[in-house]
Amino acid sequence: MNKMAQRADSADAIVLRAEQITKVFPGTIALDKVDFNVYAGKVNVLVGENGAGKSTLMKILAGVERATSGKLLLDGKVIDIHSPHDAAEHGIGIIYQEMNLFPNLNVTENIFMAHEKVTNGIVIDRKEQRRVTQSLLDRLEQEIDPDESVSNLRIGQQQIVEIAKALAQDVRILIMDEPTSALSASEVDVLFGVIRDLQAEGVAVIYISHKLDELLQIGNYVTVLRDGKLMAERPADEIDVSWIIEQMVGRNPASLFHYQARELGGELLRVENMSLPRLGGGFTVDHVSFTLRRGEILGIYGLMGAGRSELFESLLGLHPEGSGTVWLDGEEVKASTIRQRIQLGMTLVPEDRQREGLVQSMSVADNMVLASLKKYLNGFYLSRRKESASVDRMIDEMSVKTAGPQQLISALSGGNQQKVVVAKSLLTNPQVLLLDEPTRGIDVGAKAEIFEIMNRLAGEGYGIIFISSELKEVLAMSDRILVMSKGKITGEFSRGEAGEEALVAASAGGHGPSARRSHEGEAERPVSSFRSRSSR
């Protein structure tokens, strides 16, 4: 109720209002009756954890997705946005989190894509396009050649081109989804200057970022989403960082994880000098060595692009070009293929559940048994009885909520899908479990369940290594924490000595004085390079 009061008080005009927006995806409710106000001439900040629904809400405003229910009001009038083109007609522009440029085209062509300036309605007016591009780039204080192919630009420069592209269309409302994640400090300053100019011109900016201090520096209004629901909306000068965190996370996240003290066993895994060369020189994984004991939960913390996922992939044998020695249970691992490593007892729960963990067209049962088919053989064919015995046991043990083993996997919620992926790994009879961001994008309850499973498995003597970008998770769950930065291990902490500041400091190690420069290493990668899966 006090939210309503807030709105009435504020003298600022609402240019765009999203009312009771609900968006249902197969398996999840991404947005649940969310209201969102965009004030004219202000920077409207939207914050929330991963999976809170920020990007979905923005996609609805930009016409990429359509809301399941709810309405959009522009200047008080209901509008229908069916496509990005409609959104542009209404003066709504968006700069996406993921790059949406065409690497094969030059800067000018990218900026005017689908909005080409034409003479006589047919021929593209290259001269005029070039002139406008040059003036936009001047305004952004960038020395980028309008004729340069986008594939030759650094990631940061590409981000600038994205911004120029949005500016090229006369927007009244500009959505920026994490615009600074790839920018250096000086580029961020330029961007903020441009945002203030836009504000002065009356443009409403919607700004999404995970960098909380940055938000308070540039923002006028702050709206917080959590698990697809609106938590609060406040003017930025009334709040501070801790208020935002409280709204974002809700109940104290530490209450989710209860660490169980365990007896650790002997050494289970030893990794020495694991390296993975990077295209264009340097290492994605840079001579990493560590050990893991039986029953131990080893957390790996680091920033995006620190090489954590690549370390896991190298351990599993996905990168034949990598080098390093691995001892499992005292024996050197000679096997190099994924299949052989899985048979030896190593298994990976990948970071991207949809793209790497599940076969969407298959059922829950078929997904679960996929990595351990050999176990169910009767001679040369699969025994349905053996399969369903394992599947039923796993559904029960992991309390997977499914209408049945033959249910399509895509119908399950994110958390339950993740449990299926974990179950698939467990059915391979592993000794070492590699969990890459096991709690990403799943709801709070499912997170707690995943942690409980991890505790139980560690108690049973499995060795668990898990990657997380959430400080609180790593601190709460791990017996020991490794911090990675730029492919190297830059810190090792036992449970007692680890603290948030120490981890953050170590994660910026090797990055120079400013943590903001942390992404420059990644910035060297051209966008066109295949497999440039920025490891988030």
């Binding site: 994924i338 078929d366 996929l370």
Partner: protein, 356 residues
């Protein structure tokens, strides 16, 4: 499949939506049934034994090719080369019977036994498939391109084998001990032509392999999500090469059957057969993007195409119109397929929501 079983067991409380789904699921079968009824009303000769025998032989050709093609398409690939491999293998078999193997250094000609010739021909089919598979996996060439290349290469080799001429009268000579080849095409067991028995055998084995073996499961997994399959320890490249070999093997079998039926091998044999095979697979509900489909569907699809073609011929519909009708039926089938996939997903979501 087990969803179908579940639906059956709940027959007492079948809802409208479930009946709708059941009908959609059995659509190819229903279409086949309707076609048979229509044609038998319109044409008195349609259901005569003689006509059925001819029709089944045609169906067997498409079905055997379709079985191999189903494996390939389930992995998300495509094999355009099967028609050419049919032609090449027919020529290989024909050449071996009429000309034998000329060993110049010894100045002798070896005439292998018919059984040996058949094995050699099937081996050639496997080899052609293996080449396609290796080009696709080792050199990262799109299946469409790799098998398009194989389409031309195999057809060219077929023409080269005899300089474009036909190997006629493939009966062998008693004194050379290589007689008996026409039996494959003309012979019957229990009154049913061998080609139909071969189709049944291939279909049963293939259905078992896809449904009940790790290999089959891996084929589906690769088509559904190749990356997830790889990370689960599936040897993706190996499985992919194998599916093209299976397709090549089926094509070689068809090459043998056709040349045996005609008692002659012509280098243009099998032209455009790949399109009929793909049509049979798609009509049977297998998704061209991979991961969804079945052998039984493909068999029904092959019957639909066979019945449609022969039925229209029997009615005296012009061959030009036949093509128009066939094309429309294939597209219509895929449209219905999309509809069914959407309904199925919605039903799965509903079941899940009832649970929550």
């Amino acid at each position: 499949m087990s969803q179908a079983e579940a639906t059956v067991s709940n027959r007492s409380r079948l809802s409208g939506a479930e009946i709708q789904q059941l009908l959609l699921r059995a659509r190819a079968f229903i279409a086949l049934f309707v076609l048979v009824i229509i044609f038998s009303i319109l044409s008195p000769t349609f259901l005569t034994p003689a006509n059925i025998v001819i029709m089944s032989k045609h169906v067997a050709i498409n079905a055997i090719l379709g079985i191999g093609m189903t494996f390939v398409i389930l992995t998300g690939g495509i094999d355009l080369s099967v028609g050419s491999i049919v032609g090449l293998c027919a020529m290989i078999a024909g050449g071996l019977i009429n000309e034998g193997i000329i060993l110049e250094m010894f100045g002798v000609v070896v005439y292998p036994h018919v059984w040996t010739i058949m094995l050699m021909t099937l081996g050639a089919g496997l080899l052609m498939g293996a080449v396609s598979g290796l080009v696709i996996t080792r050199f990262n060439v799109a299946p469409f391109i790799a098998t398009l290349g194989m389409l031309y290469v195999a057809r060219g080799l077929a023409l080269l084998r005899s300089n474009g001429n036909t190997f006629a009268n493939l009966v062998g000579r008693p004194e050379l001990g290589n007689t008996g080849f026409p039996v494959l095409g003309a012979g019957n067991f229990l009154g049913i032509n061998y080609s139909i028995w071969i189709m049944i055998l291939f279909a049963v084995v293939a259905a078992f392999v896809t449904q009940r073996t790790p290999f089959g499961r891996q084929v589906y997994a690769i088509g559904g999500n190749e990356r997830a399959a790889e990370l689960s320890g599936v040897r993706v490249n190996r499985v992919k090469v194998l599916v093209y070999m299976i397709s090549g093997f089926c094509a070689a079998m068809v090459g043998l059957i056709i040349s045996s039926q005609l008692v002659a091998a012509h280098p243009a044999t099998g032209t455009f057969f790949e399109l009929n095979a793909i049509a049979a697979v798609v009509l049977g509900g297998t998704s061209l993007s991979g991961g969804r489909g079945s052998i039984s569907g493909t068999i029904i699809g092959a019957f639909v195409i066979g019945v449609l073609t022969d039925g229209l011929i029997g009615l005296g519909v012009s061959s030009f119109w036949q093509q128009v009708i066939k094309g429309a039926v294939i597209v219509l089938a895929v449209i219905i397929d999309q509809l069914q996939a959407r309904l199925q997903e919605r039903a799965a979501l509903q079941r899940q929501q009832q649970l929550a």
